[in-house]
Symmetry: C2
Subunit: 321 residues, 2 copies
């Protein structure tokens, strides 16, 4: 198990290092990429050699943050730090080589397994970006616009643009400072919170058409088949967070979305709940798990039957509460 | 024309008054109600008699802010102040009696017509709530949770939960302070930015199904008939901001939504554009008008033909840019 360290100790570790290699998590989001980018740039401003290890899952809309930061094969480093990475299986395939070599982990996930030698964990931070902000301040880094941009994206994406319940005063203070520094934040808000590809539009339309409600209206569920997704050219990016859409409907306390796997007739299930219903309890019945408000599992098809099984389990969970 | 005054002068006027009556605008939004509520509570904390004039358009989700603040018929006041109210026609029917009696106006709309005797206008503020915040600070008011709640709602609703381009550093700083003060902000975010009535869900579904795109994909348009809205029991609240949905689709530069009027075969048209296309130019062709990014007009039916006329006008505007 990792030794839990405080901000000052983490700052000392980074100060002592000459070269730092940063790891981001599988299917990277704005927080892991933004946090890594901000930390990498901050360390470089302190005169260090700092790199972000290439992440093969990186999508185009986040790639710009790492443009000049990606580690070349010959990169030299004496410290490996994981950013926003809660557990070893979340390392990408190419980064699996570092599984037992992570010196320092900077994170906000309460579920962090402590796989690193040392762990700086702020479980109440809305984003790892908030941890990085405090670390860079302690290190005396002068922030440039690219650091503000990376931190803004980290914090904004993990809080749903300051909408989710995890939003903290510091989330807003970082945004306030970023805007004061002159960050052109609105194009990022458009990209991450507004823009919808035509494909995504079609998927949402299909999902709304296919939506089934329990008789009391508390459960909303839908399933999507792979053949159709292939037909419209959908990517994984287009499928992101579909289940949160169900939760916007008034009266719905549990949303269930089933998406057929790429290479089998199984369905990947995403369950969302409002307090106090526990999504992870629903998914555990099918060998899955997750958080109280968001969980997942995999079930065999066909889609309609799978959905009905999930709805029955959700019904049970709602009855329990 | 109003005399333009600064923050200090506005604070002096309020300090000198013994009783203050606050006016909000027609079809009140979170900013006009939140600003009036915060100012009213702040003035009361300074020992003044302060009231908000009842607004007959007030919807249930904002009414709670004014619960104990509504002026009784016998309310005494020596200063009438309008909050977030840009022009005389925006007074509600019952408040029209004050048309020539507004002593002070606190606003952020660049279009403010200067109808009040004195005007404090911060055109770069994201919300009038930001003006009120600064005014209350200058007045030395100690903020309680109800003031924070009102200011948070004012700022959050006018910035689309900190998403729109008008968001300022102060928007975020007010939110940061409100959260630090212990405001339970998330239920408000759910109410204003997440929750969707079943009726709204059905309308969005229908709109997506009916959506027509121009061949280049830059125009998205749909029309909705009143009979169907009646059938599902839709209210005006359910129809709010439908046209902004079209603008989330990638590639769409102009969104047009036509909603049939309650009592005629005419259609109320709402047009939204991305830079540089000018929505008000499109609507002016049909005797309407508005802002460059958001405008409206009324056209005669039937819906399909009306939509096609609007799309042709939008085509012309896009070609001009």
């Amino acid at each position: 198990m990792a030794e839990t360290i405080d901000l000052l100790t983490a700052a000392r570790r980074l100060t002592a290092a000459e070269g730092v290699l940063l790891l981001t998590h599988r299917r990277p989001d704005g927080d892991t990429v933004g946090s890594a980018a901000a930390l990498c740039r901050g360390l470089r401003r302190l005169g260090k050699a700092a790199w972000v290890f290439p992440n093969e899952d990186l999508t185009p809309r986040l790639a710009f943050l790492l443009e000049d930061l990606l580690a070349p094969p010959a990169a030299q480093y004496d410290l490996v730090a994981a950013v926003d990475l809660a557990d070893i299986p979340l390392l990408t395939t190419s980064a699996a080589q570092f599984a037992k070599k992570v010196d320092l982990c900077l994170d906000h996930h309460p579920s962090n397994t402590g796989y690193a030698a040392e762990l700086l964990l702020y479980p109440k931070a809305a984003a790892t970006g908030e941890v990085i902000y405090q670390l860079l301040r302690l290190l005396g880094v002068s922030f440039d616009l690219k650091i503000w941009e990376a931190l803004y994206i980290a914090v904004a994406t993990d809080t749903g643009c300051f909408r989710f319940s995890n939003t903290t005063p510091l989330s807003h203070r970082i945004a306030a400072e970023a805007l004061e520094a002159g960050l052109d934040f609105h194009p990022h808000n458009r990209t991450f919170f507004e823009k919808k590809s035509k494909t995504r539009f079609l998927i949402e339309k299909r999902m709304l058409d296919a939506m089934t409600f329990s008789s009391d209206g508390r459960i909303a569920a839908a399933w999507i088949e792979r053949d159709w997704l292939k037909e419209i050219g959908a990517t994984d990016d287009d499928l992101d967070n579909l289940s949160t859409l169900t939760m916007t409907i008034d009266g719905v306390d549990c949303g269930i979305i089933l998406t057929q796997e790429k290479t089998s007739s199984d369905y990947k299930v995403s369950v969302r709940t409002h307090m106090p219903a526990d999504a992870s309890r629903v998914c555990r019945e099918f060998g899955g798990g997750g958080h109280p408000r968001a969980a997942g599992c995999t079930v065999s098809g066909p889609g309609k039957q799978a959905m009905e099984k999930l709805m029955a389990a959700a019904q049970g969970e709602l009855a329990r509460c």
